[in-house]
């Protein structure tokens, strides 16, 4: 049996094509201007390598923080009847739609040296987060966390509670159930959420520059380095952009290939 031939209405195909063009064209523009012959040289430049190191530390730490903090949060949203559930969910989603610069400013007001909580961190523990790698990690986690939480929460809801009930009647405490049953059953989504969160953390710019500042070897991640280089050495900026672009594409292709529904 073959499908009946379908006539595709131009009223849909044309805007769809335009949308695709809008998404693809900037990438083509970037690739067409990229300094291909000197790409390796530019990417192995000491300042760039330094930014690679900072980015690796910051994005991986942010992904791990997303796992440690985000898994329980996803569980809470999926399994517990919270008072003001809608508000809680909105708060969780907010960094996805908030301009990252606003997020960074908000972090400064909360965790900065004069911030709501930051002043006590500073006074009692002598901990100052802005302008440190830890600050960059927090900024990256702030923007990446919703990607992880929403991915995993969706999976937990879809998986339902049947297995958790089975675990409880088999003598597992709620915590043991979470560790031995809930999380393993959602492991593919946890992996997908981690990859998305990591990629978002890697690309983070606005919150980082606002909250953590910009210093080579400490807080200057690849996106910051790209922006700095755009002013002084555009070819280097393009080379880093190509690198970031290929990593992002790699993550998405890997997700499509193994985790997300095709």
């Amino acid at each position: 049996m073959s499908k009946a031939p379908v006539r595709h209405p131009a009223a849909l195909v044309a805007p769809a094509g335009l949308a695709l063009l809008l998404l693809a064209l900037p990438i083509v523009g970037l690739l067409q201007r990229a300094p291909w012959s000197s790409l390796i040289d530019r990417l192995t430049d000491e300042t760039v390598l330094e930014a690679v190191r900072v980015s690796a530390v910051v994005s991986s730490s942010a992904a791990i923080l997303c796992l440690i903090l985000g898994l329980p949060l996803a569980w809470l949203l999926a399994r517990v009847d919270l008072p003001g559930q809608r508000i809680v969910r909105a708060v969780v989603m907010l960094p996805m739609v908030l301009p990252p610069v606003v997020g960074g400013t908000a972090l400064l007001f909360a965790l900065g040296r004069r911030g709501l909580v930051g002043q006590w961190l500073d006074r009692w523990f002598d901990v100052t987060l802005p302008f440190t790698t830890a600050g960059a990690i927090i900024a990256a986690t702030f923007v990446a966390l919703p990607f992880f939480v929403t991915t995993v929460e969706g999976a937990l809801r879809q998986n339902g509670t049947d297995l958790e009930e089975a675990a409880a009647t088999a003598g597992a405490t709620p915590l043991a159930t979470f560790i031995h049953v809930t999380v393993p059953a959602a492991r593919e989504s946890v992996g997908a959420g981690l990859a998305l969160a990591w990629a978002r953390a890697l690309g983070e710019f606005g919150a980082t520059i606002t909250f953590a500042g910009n210093l080579g070897g400490r807080t200057r991640t690849l996106p910051l380095q790209t922006f700095v280089a755009l002013e002084s050495d555009p070819a280097s900026a393009l080379a880093i952009s190509v690198l970031l672009l290929s990593i992002s594409l790699g993550v998405l292709v890997a997700l499509r290939g193994s985790w997300l529904p095709r």
């Binding site: 049947d162 297995l163 009930e165 089975a166 675990a167 409880a168 009647t169 088999a170 003598g171 597992a172 405490t173 709620p174 043991a176 159930t177 031995h180 049953v181 393993p184 059953a185 492991r187």
Partner: protein, 214 residues
């Protein structure tokens, strides 16, 4: 171990009023779909809570619709569900070890006891398989082994044969008949499953009737 339930819980469209005593031995719970049979089982297992009234398992108060609620994992009950509910990422042997491991029993001892339990349900040669590599009947056998391995005082069976093909059914029925738990509560819509039950709880017309078998 006797079970005493005296209380109410609301369902979607009606309130279930329960006044049920379950004695040691095998009790069949029958009635049409949606009458509340499974709810009764879930109340005993600790998967649902009463809105009013009390539940005792043995002499222990496990639910008083208020301050007392003993969680499912702290009750001396085990459940075989209609759908096996095996943990998909675990091998058969690890599924069966699961209740023992949660009691803090070491890995080797748990594995030995799980192996014995698998032998008893005729599944020892499939110990290393994951649920996805087993047939429906085989999965239910593993699920029975998982329910029995920790030697529960009360075994709760929620339509354990409903999803099993005819070929495997009698074998699994025999296994359940031979279950060593002192108290067995067997929910079924099929009277054939409950032929030799010692007492009967029947749900009909929104009322629960209790009849000891002669």
């Amino acid at each position: 171990m006797t079970i005493r339930i005296d209380g109410t819980v609301s369902r979607d469209s009606f309130t279930l009023d329960l006044d049920v005593d379950i004695d040691v031995g095998r009790t069949a719970v029958i009635g049409p779909n949606g009458a509340g049979k499974t709810t009764l089982l879930r109340l005993i297992a600790g998967l649902e809570a009463l809105e009013r009234g009390t539940i005792h398992i043995g002499h222990r108060l496990v639910d008083d619709a208020g301050s007392v609620f003993v969680a499912a994992h702290e009750r001396s009950t085990a459940v075989v569900f209609q759908d096996h509910r095996l943990f998909p990422q675990l091998r058969a042997i690890d599924n069966v070890s699961f209740p023992l491991r949660r009691q803090g029993i070491d890995r080797a001892t748990a594995a030995d006891r799980a192996t014995v339990a698998l032998q008893e349900v005729g599944m020892d040669e499939f110990a290393a398989r994951r649920p996805s590599q087993l047939s429906g009947g085989q999965r239910q056998r593993v699920a029975i082994a998982r329910a029995l391995v920790a030697e529960p005082e009360v075994l709760l069976l929620d339509e354990p044969l409903a999803s099993i093909d005819d070929e495997s059914r009698s074998g699994i029925r025999h296994l359940l008949m031979a279950a060593p738990s002192p108290t067995v509560v067997w929910v079924s819509h099929d009277p054939a499953d409950t032929l030799d039950a010692e007492s009967l709880v029947s749900f009909a017309d929104d009322r629960v009737r209790q009849t000891p078998r002669p």
